[in-house]
Symmetry: C2
Subunit: 345 residues, 2 copies
């Protein structure tokens, strides 16, 4: 097998980590795409802190880069919601380039953005590309939970609690999380009609669908997380006054026709010095089961899954293939091209 | 799809739980097999504490029961090691009946009993049956660990610690765990040539194989777990004096050519009142990762996986198919026959 060729799509904090990881796994970087005027024309190695140049110059012409670079896969780390993410995913699908993306809604967008997802699925099937949303939530919020569910005889209630540090994901995500707003501004934003779907909703949709259950009702409540003392957001380089917003917690709940209830509390906020990410799940039923990943390093496990999923995505059938349909993720000790099935690409 | 027909093979503590679970999932019990003179001729419902008769009379003629009952799958809970388990698995394979077994070595017997496994694999491929070892270790010691490994960029060392209560698994297993022996008797037994392979070895073999790594060296050490005060083994109905053996801990370690080290400490002993099963795993590398399942109810998760794997095993290609090759386990909310793929059986 030849080495896999990858296009870096979005040159920020997450794809800087991903670039190093891809190189470690013998992936050839053949293009880098950014909208940022500060980055266009510069070498990807310089921008991602590798300490050496890669001979890959950042461009803002995504369509040309995808069409001409010979990329097997695009590694997208640009935004969070499908209304934004559709641009990058459509560019990849139309160019027939497989794509993995960190856009959180893309994890399982079939219910929250059905038209966009169906459109992308159709283009990808026509051109032979596979599009998949992954990241920390792939294993820790869906697949490892679904696997533990498989060890139950009867499930009454599945409850998850997770948190992540807004400062790990750059200014775009921190802005989405309303960091620095007053509570009044937060409540105004929350009551508006334009609120995007919660990421927890996508996680629960995936768990319900994977178990073959039927949604009866969905509730979603959101509370602001507020600074108890003055804090600083690194991602925004912004001081947040006590009483102002450092993020929020979504509490999503799905009741199913079969009686199984799913609840997920997902908190994305600026951390104080003693905070750490958690991933705690509990199943009530026969038997009761629990899972904890201690202080899980969400930022790194987001990047590792973004890159470790690449062989699965290239091997998969064309279309928008959500991560619960991919094989169980495996450790990749060797160059990624060694994990490709014959004829995959 | 028609309902799945199952033969209960071994009528003891574990298959009593499994029988109830199978009935809950719309599986039809068509045969029950036991070597015990106390059980032959009695109704399976009476023997398994269901509070009602099933119209299934226990027989000791395994070959006739498998050949004549029309069973799609046999649910085997008889013994632990392949030298013993080969009898039941061979009977199933020769009758063309799929089988799931709790025999611990059968989880991944390719390295510890290669000839027996190859023989069973060949028979099963000829008759169209699938044979799979499962139980608690399927998810909690292999597949959930392998999945977490998939979220690492680099792994230096994987360490697991697990324990289980000998009294949960009946007298045969308690005898294998040397319960009630003196330390001197234990050490004599340990130094003898006839010691069977450790179950931890099978677990680590599965993890190494799943990651595509190559074994460089294997070490296995065993220490007796000793009663600090007088204890009672329910499984053996035996009082154990202080200073005598209540089980043992195997510490298995595999070094790989790729530099990844795997260590597993697995303790099977009689519990005191405050003990509980644990399942704690740690990955050292980039990043460091941990997993804990609190006080996991090993006995129940053994039975749930034995039964929940049935649709996967019927769907799988013929042969001895070890559990890391099966699809990620799923919660089975509905009758098991609804999870069969067209043409599977």
């Amino acid at each position: 097998m030849n080495r896999i060729k990858a296009a870096i799509y979005g040159v920020g904090a997450m794809n800087s980590i991903a670039t190093r990881m891809l190189l470690d796994k013998d992936v050839e970087i053949v293009a880098a795409i950014s909208r940022s005027k500060d980055k266009v024309g510069k070498d990807l190695g310089d921008l991602t802190g590798l300490g050496r140049q890669l001979g890959v110059i950042v461009t803002d012409d995504a369509k040309a880069a995808l069409a001409e670079s010979g990329a097997d896969v695009a590694v997208i780390a640009v935004n969070s919601y499908m209304t934004d993410a559709v641009e990058q995913l459509r560019n990849c699908a139309e160019a027939g380039v497989n794509a993995v993306t960190l856009s959180e809604e893309a994890l399982y967008p079939w219910n929250t953005s059905p038209e966009l997802t169906a459109e992308l699925d159709a283009i990808a099937k026509r051109t032979g590309a596979t599009l998949t949303g992954t990241g920390h939530q792939d294993t820790y919020w869906v697949n490892i939970v679904a696997m533990m569910m498989g060890t139950a005889h009867r499930i009454d209630h599945v409850t998850g609690r997770a948190s992540w540090n807004v400062d790990d994901y750059g200014p775009e995500v921190a802005g989405d999380q309303q960091v620095g707003k007053t509570v009044e501004q937060f409540n105004q934003w929350l009551s508006g009609a334009e609120r995007p779907p919660t990421f927890g909703r996508n996680v629960l949709d995936a768990l319900v669908a994977d178990a073959g259950l039927t949604v009866k009702s969905i509730t979603s409540t959101t509370r602001p997380d507020v600074a108890a003392e003055p804090m600083h957001s690194q991602a925004l380089n912004l001081d947040v006054a006590a009483g102002d917003v450092i993020g929020f917690t979504d509490i999503d709940e799905i009741q199913t026709e079969e009686g199984v209830v799913f609840t997920f509390e997902m908190s994305g906020r600026v951390y104080g010095e003693t905070d750490g990410d958690i991933n705690d799940w509990e199943i009530k039923g026969e038997p009761d089961l629990v899972l904890s990943n201690g202080n899980v390093p969400t930022q790194i496990t987001t990047c590792t899954q973004l890159v470790n999923r690449i062989p699965d995505v290239i091997n998969a059938d064309p279309g928008f293939v959500t991560m619960e349909k991919l094989p169980r993720l495996k450790y990749r000790a060797f160059g990624f091209h060694t994990y490709l099935e014959a004829g995959a690409e």
